[in-house]
Symmetry: D2
Subunit: 351 residues, 4 copies
């Protein structure tokens, strides 16, 4: 049996590189040889034991690679093609998928997120892709791996936050937290035509990056009260859309406090502990507020569109890749990324 | 100076009939002689001091009457016409109104609700209607006052809950609480083509009424655990839309617990105290859930459509009027209604 | 090699029952033994040579049957289960499907319509279902074949016309032509909460049926000018939504002539010859009109919802089945149906 | 009686500067002293007699000016404020306006377009603004007249074409004709996140301008067949959205021919003569195509958003103003503009 290297969750606090068998390909699967991948904030939650997965699971859900083998029922692709696969891999054929709820594939919550969650992921030499017909997107030859590395998750998620917010041309939008997801939400707000994009974070370098991605105004919450600042910037009106990109009570609540009546709170964060709706900011339920959550849209069509965005040059997310590691050094990469050292935003991992 | 009788908020616990001057008509106003009105659950919150209004304010926001006088800038109407006016009276001309957020008129939360909240209401002999051009709807001569009495608030609010839920043909919908608003939400779910409408309450008479308005299944929460029952009825799938029509943590939370991933929690209740999102039912923010609140849609076009519904006979809300009082006896009416005695649903008050 | 009977298109004017091999099942297919099917207006177009298909093709796209065999990659079903399959069979996994354009599966126009169009159909003893995972819906045991026989096409199409029209509660809707599709559009308008449904046809029995399915007013165009009548009925306002259910210049144009500015013309007909937009009724392109076409929505989730509607009893389409034939007599059935004899609406065909 | 200069339609072929009385201000009006205005393609249609208006009418619907007088019922503004007013002036209070159909104000087609159509327009020293409460937008002091001169019509219309097309991030969009409206539609497509914007025209300078406003690819139809080129550029897929910005059968038809099944034809042109839907490109009505028309959105909220866009700098439309004239020379301006001489795009007229 052939084996491969894979970053495996052992127990809370421990992800390590192990040898595992290269997966066998069923009729609707594809096997992808990974050429580049990355680490996500969610992977850090897994590492820390905050998001539970089964010991022995290969982690990672942001794959770039080459088709190594195709199931007998998969058509229209060829071995050797360079592809990306979304972090979320909908089957396209279950009732929720056919209803448009691809991220909730199968009908249980978060069902569309399989890689590194319910099945083995892509921080490995090979990745088995289920429902491959719905999930392989060929990469144009003029784009590098790193250029499309953000498509599978953070670009899809961040843009999704802007899309779910139903931003209109000329809207005011606030985005709380400018980590990789928040930065992509900022870029997404720019792509939808917002004319006043306010990015909030405590890290000056991230705020600088936010400006380069479309933010018109940045607020360092360690220096200014963002709620007061935003109400001031909007002439007391509040923003049309507030995007939460961290997953804390404070940022969630701040979103609601700067949101105009009738506005949309578009939530991207993964929350833990308790989440409370402050009734004063929620107008006791009478403010026509909307709270919308978005799990990273996946599937090959979504990936195709995101690759189009990359290729067109209307957004440039390459600067988000700040560090590079070999798969052999992935434990070091986790250490750097989990501890947010050296201004890290995203790392590129190459087997 | 001519005077009229009006039900006035004096202090928490005290609404009484007083003599007040008949209001003067400005250029964009209309004066309506009230012929029928009613009491709303919100009025009871005001009476109890749970929703604060200024002492001296006339209460009431569900007017049926006759045009007594028209401002010089109001056109297309005649003195003597029978009209209804919505509980919410948008100006139609401010930025939020022009953006479609009529219920948040003026841009501050709940700004569209004026009668018996920020200006004098309609539990009186006369009502001054601001922005009359946008808010008077003529009643067809073949309809009685009582037939259209539910249009200004509960019908608009309840239907609005169904509309905001974006119910599709063939959806499963649960409606928690079958007071007047919940009953109208049940009727609204029926009007949108839901094929499995589940109504929850603890009052058998209300559940009976729910059935007559379109509920396919009723659950008496005092006898069965509604969450288990609904998950069972939907084969573990959960409902597509859950409508909250009471305003408590428990019903809000139950909505989320029976909601499928990707579903909509359409909230109509007025909450007090604390409101928490249970993270397990909320999939930590990753379930593509939507929480949408709706304040009663108003304005003359909304009222026109609701009158059309009444006239067409596709919904019959007359049975909701269970008791009748003279305006002189309004304090008795409040006593009956606030204490939910004698199976009361809605009362008709006639000056 | 086992054979079966199948109604085959031979040449314009000739559909005949032939012996054909029972199809072989590939990994993603299912074989369904047909128990009931029907003839569609489109089949008559095929018979007449107005809609071209390849000689030798088995006709029919409205299958009810029993699973006879399942491909190795199809899960969650069992041989022997009673199922329906939509007229349109999306794969769920191509780019258009993943984008929500299931009826345009594959990306070429009308690509989702396969049965009796691009592959063999269901007027036969057996039907091979492609992409079976996305297209089999189990029939509840309490429903008969005939009760769900309308789901695969006319119910889905007719309701789709109402859905695409974005009917709101209290809307006025006109439906031009009350054949099987138009009748279902009338039922669909009723399910969406229209309060003034105006059905137009020249056949009194169909108009009678329209009333039983939700029409408030019927217009016999042989006795009254429907345009004048509708403008009169709406007080000169025009309807909010006009549904075209025949496929002629005259009905299309009439739709536009009775449509209010800003309204939706929802088109279901299959047009031939020329189709012109009358510029006066189209306000030279400045009336904010929308013209929306809808090809029958398919896939197992759509079928599930439609079965839910049947089961709930909120619509009863059984009366549409006016005649019954054995498959052996299908040529007689075509003769009756194509010539619209004996008040036929839909025929049930049983192998 | 005080008089003013005004450009008046005399008869087909003749618009001349005349002296007219300065209008009197009613309770809901405002009088605006015009500081800058412009000429629209529609005005040329009027001049040529192709769009009929009453002789004696003052032409023009793109006003920038200063409030000179306010009606008694208009609040929140002050004499002396610099304002713009949309080309379309909804009342905000009629049934269509309250339903969101502001451009069809009053319920008759094109009802929202009043200036220079049904009432006197702004190619004059003074303009009477009806329903002023809904239609005055204050200009920030840091913006010049010319910077906001495009907001009232072409920016609102062109962006509206992109908005009605429901462009998604990563979409392919073709815009046929790159006159002022088409150029703004190109800018609008860019603002909505299209990643492949294809601009078609026969004028190289306009195509150059299209590139600067967001077009990724331009096609000179005098050199290349745009239909073949677009099908090629999209790999045979067709565009997601095609925008018509001229008003001819050929461009309308070309839109449909390059549109993918399920796509949106967003029409902005004013058509004359005949308009036919080519049934092959329309898939006989079965392609899930949508044809949507958009009349310039107006009202003060729309203008506020467009000014926000100008102020943010995300689009720069100043280069569209290619020529400047005094009001006294407006007949020369018409001559230049109507004959498209000297590379004219838009002219600025200052009284």
């Amino acid at each position: 049996m052939k084996t491969m290297k894979a970053a495996v969750f052992v127990r809370p606090g421990k992800i390590e590189l192990q040898e595992k068998p290269i997966p066998k390909v069923g009729p609707t699967d594809a096997l992808v040889k990974i050429t580049t991948t990355t680490i996500c904030g969610t992977d850090v939650h897994i590492l820390k034991g905050e998001y539970p997965v089964k010991p022995g699971l290969t982690i990672g859900h942001e794959p770039v690679g080459v088709i190594a083998e195709l199931g007998m029922a998969v058509g229209g692709y060829q071995v050797g093609q360079r592809v990306i696969v979304g972090a979320i891999t909908p089957c396209g054929q279950c009732n929720p998928c056919l209803s448009g709820d691809h991220s909730q594939c199968g009908g249980h919550a978060i069902g569309g997120w399989k890689f590194g969650n319910s099945i083995d992921g892509c921080q490995a030499e090979y990745l088995l892709v289920p429902n491959a017909q719905a999930n392989l997107t060929v990469i144009p030859s003029n784009l590098t791996d790193e250029q499309v590395l953000m498509c599978p998750d953070i670009m899809s998620t961040g843009f999704g936050g802007a899309e779910s917010g139903q931003i209109r041309i000329g809207d005011s939008v606030a985005i709380f937290a400018q980590g990789p997801i928040g930065l992509c939400a900022t870029a997404g707000a720019h792509l939808r035509g917002a004319s006043q994009i306010i990015a909030i974070d405590g890290n000056p370098r991230r705020l600088e990056m936010a400006k380069s991605l479309g933010a018109h105004i940045t607020i360092d919450y360690s220096k200014n009260n963002p709620i007061e600042a935003i109400m001031d910037l909007t002439g007391g009106r509040g923003v049309d859309v507030a995007i939460e990109a961290l997953g804390t009570q404070q940022t969630f609540e701040s979103c609601l406090r700067v949101l105009r009546p009738g506005g949309v709170l578009s939530s991207l964060g993964v929350y833990s502990g308790k989440l409370t709706l402050p009734l004063d900011a929620f107008a006791a339920g009478l403010g026509d507020h909307k709270v919308v959550t978005t799990l990273c849209p996946g599937g090959k069509e979504r990936m195709r569109r995101l690759i189009n965005v990359v290729e067109s040059g209307i957004v440039d997310l390459k600067p988000l890749v700040t560090h590079r590691f070999k798969l052999d050094d992935i434990e070091k990469a986790y250490d750097l990324f989990a501890n947010q050292r050296d201004g890290v935003l995203k790392v590129a991992i190459t087997p």
